[in-house]
């Protein structure tokens, strides 16, 4: 963990309210693991905003974020050459086992899974047919679909669903998830998205006997594990305990988290 000032090297608009920013930091690129996040200072706003690492290429890290309030608005206004004040890399990240991996992303929960897919994909990028990663991405509607092309460059198959049926398959991620887990043997399901989606994904995975790692969101202050504002309840050996999402997470085993 360190605090680093990083120069923005690229900015892209991925959807009406979704922006990608790439910035340079050799230090952070070295420690970054899929599923980890950064705490980025957003102008005058006191608290750092937690944003997942979506991609690491060389010394460049990319974050992808939705415009929600003042903090993400500030970030969206950054231009190439601006300096970001970043605390990173934070949290534990995904634990990617051997074997076939199924990543399941819901909306703006998709970015960290791209980094997980890339980490798991050991085959040459030109040969996605042999990739051991399959992705299911769910969005509200066609204009909200992001990163479909990027996932397609590292995954064997990418299934996209929209709630309103305007793109890909009509419905939620649950249907393709059920079908894939029935059809093939996966070593792990990695999921990130809204709580109701995580609950549904965990239920399906557990029913199929596949381990499921969920990446959680909680409001944070310190981002490093010192203040205890970001906890989630977990159950281990019948004991209820609080874990810090920023430090012990954000990725936790679905069987331990009380979702």
């Amino acid at each position: 963990m360190q605090q680093v000032l990083c120069r923005v090297v690229r900015r892209a608009q991925l959807a009406d309210d979704v922006v990608a920013l790439a910035f340079e930091s050799a230090e952070l690129a070295r420690t970054a693991r899929a599923g980890q996040f950064i705490g980025v200072k957003c102008g005058e706003n006191l608290l750092r905003r937690p944003i997942s690492i979506c991609d690491v290429t060389g010394d460049e890290l990319t974050i992808v974020f939705a415009l929600k309030g003042a903090g993400t608005q500030f970030l969206a206004e950054r231009k190439v050459g601006d300096v970001l004040d970043v605390l990173g890399t934070l949290g534990n990240g995904f634990d990617i086992p051997e074997g076939e991996i199924l990543v399941v992303g819901g909306g703006i929960g998709s970015p960290p899974l791209l980094s997980a897919a890339k980490t798991a994909q050991t085959e040459s990028v030109n040969d996605v047919a042999t990739s051991r990663v399959t992705a299911i991405l769910g969005f509200r509607s066609k204009p909200n679909v992001i990163l479909a092309r990027e996932f397609a460059t590292v995954c064997r198959e990418v299934y996209i669903t929209t709630d309103d049926g305007t793109f890909g398959r009509h419905g939620t991620v649950a249907a393709p998830l059920e079908e894939l887990l029935s059809a093939r043997k996966f070593a792990a399901v990695l999921a990130c998205g809204p709580r109701p989606m995580l609950r549904a994904v965990a239920e399906v995975a557990e029913r199929h006997g596949v381990t499921c790692q969920v990446s959680l969101e909680e409001r944070m202050a310190c981002g490093v594990g010192a203040c205890l504002v970001c906890v989630c309840a977990t159950r281990k050996d019948g004991e209820i305990a609080n874990r810090r999402v920023c430090r012990d997470g954000p990725v936790l085993d679905s069987r331990e988290v009380i979702l």
Binding site: L47, C227, L228, R247
Partner: protein
């Protein structure tokens, strides 16, 4: 010549006048990854209770203009687990350790004081001002009688000096401060967080699961300076000033208002190195103004 940064509070010498504020620094392990904890004057640990506590539901934090509300609700592993698992690690560093405690009854404060002073902390801070839990919280710190009974019990059962942490959520901080001094408190610390609330206009629900929480950060700094000054006018015992300190200049202001030492809390969330920057800023001020010792600043405000 290097200015003398040492301060002595109730016979305990601190190598510099900067400690970390309770609840913002855990037990030191996390920020210990950013710098050597021996650089600090002292560490005040997360508030301890007799038994482990899970704390409140989440969200426990809400951002505010220049500040934040928290409602952690004293989540902690309990005093025994602290002594067994955390104190030995803290003791590896050349820094003072202050244990912050919250009891549900006067007797609980006494029991914890006995255990902690035997275990070898340098000082004990009585939290009689936590706005986030009903028991062990605010009510002890808001009346002169109840605060006196807690202080007397703590003094009787502790072998190390006692600090009383005062609440800003009172009508007259001077009255409470005097009651603490008269009951034998060795030092005071202030301010704890100011009770606040935020409401999400979309859902009409409070942002915090606990509905209300404690405000900290730069937003409360002027209130803290005023209360430290009022307290300094009321008592002679040492004061640890805190509330929104983010820079060396903020710290100097707090010392001039009457504090003998300062604590840095929320600023660490923004900049993990904040306590060290505050320390360096104080030293720079002393050097620039050719002041030989930091203790000369205490109460140095020139009133209009």
């Amino acid at each position: 010549m290097n200015p003398d940064m040492r301060v002595t509070i109730a016979g305990v010498e601190f190598k510099n006048p900067v400690v970390t504020a309770s609840g913002t620094f855990g037990f030191g392990r996390e920020y210990g990854e950013f710098y050597d904890l021996s650089e600090l004057g002292g560490i005040c640990v997360k508030g301890l209770t007799p038994l482990p506590r899970l704390g409140n539901a989440t969200p426990r934090v809400a951002e505010t203009p220049s500040g934040m509300l928290n409602a952690v609700g004293l989540q902690n592993p309990g005093v025994d687990a602290f002594i067994a698992n955390e104190l030995p690690n803290l003791r590896k560093f050349d820094t003072r350790v202050i244990a912050n405690i919250s009891g549900g009854t006067v007797a609980e404060y006494g029991e914890m004081c006995e255990k902690l002073s035997a275990a070898g902390v340098d000082m004990i801070e009585l939290n009689v001002s936590c706005p986030n839990v009903k028991a062990g919280g605010l009510h002890f710190g808001t009346s002169t009688e109840s605060v006196s009974s807690v202080v007397r019990e703590a003094k009787m059962r502790s072998t190390v000096p006692i600090i009383v942490k005062l609440s800003p959520n009172v009508t007259s901080i001077a009255d409470i401060a005097r009651a603490c001094e008269d009951s034998g408190a060795d030092a005071l610390s202030l301010i704890n967080t100011i009770l606040g609330m935020r409401i999400d206009t979309r859902t009409r629900r409070p942002v915090l699961a606990n509905n209300v929480g404690g405000l900290s950060g730069p937003a409360i700094f002027p209130v803290a300076v005023r209360m430290v000054w009022q307290t300094r006018c009321a008592v002679r015992i040492p004061i640890i000033g805190m509330g929104g300190i983010a820079t060396g200049d903020n710290a100097v202001e707090m010392l001039l208002a009457g504090a003998n030492m300062v604590a840095v809390g929320t600023a660490s969330f923004v900049d993990p190195l904040a306590p060290l920057k505050v320390r360096d800023g104080i030293e720079k001020y002393l050097r620039q103004n050719e002041i030989g010792s930091v203790s000369e600043l205490c109460g140095g405000v020139l009133l209009n």
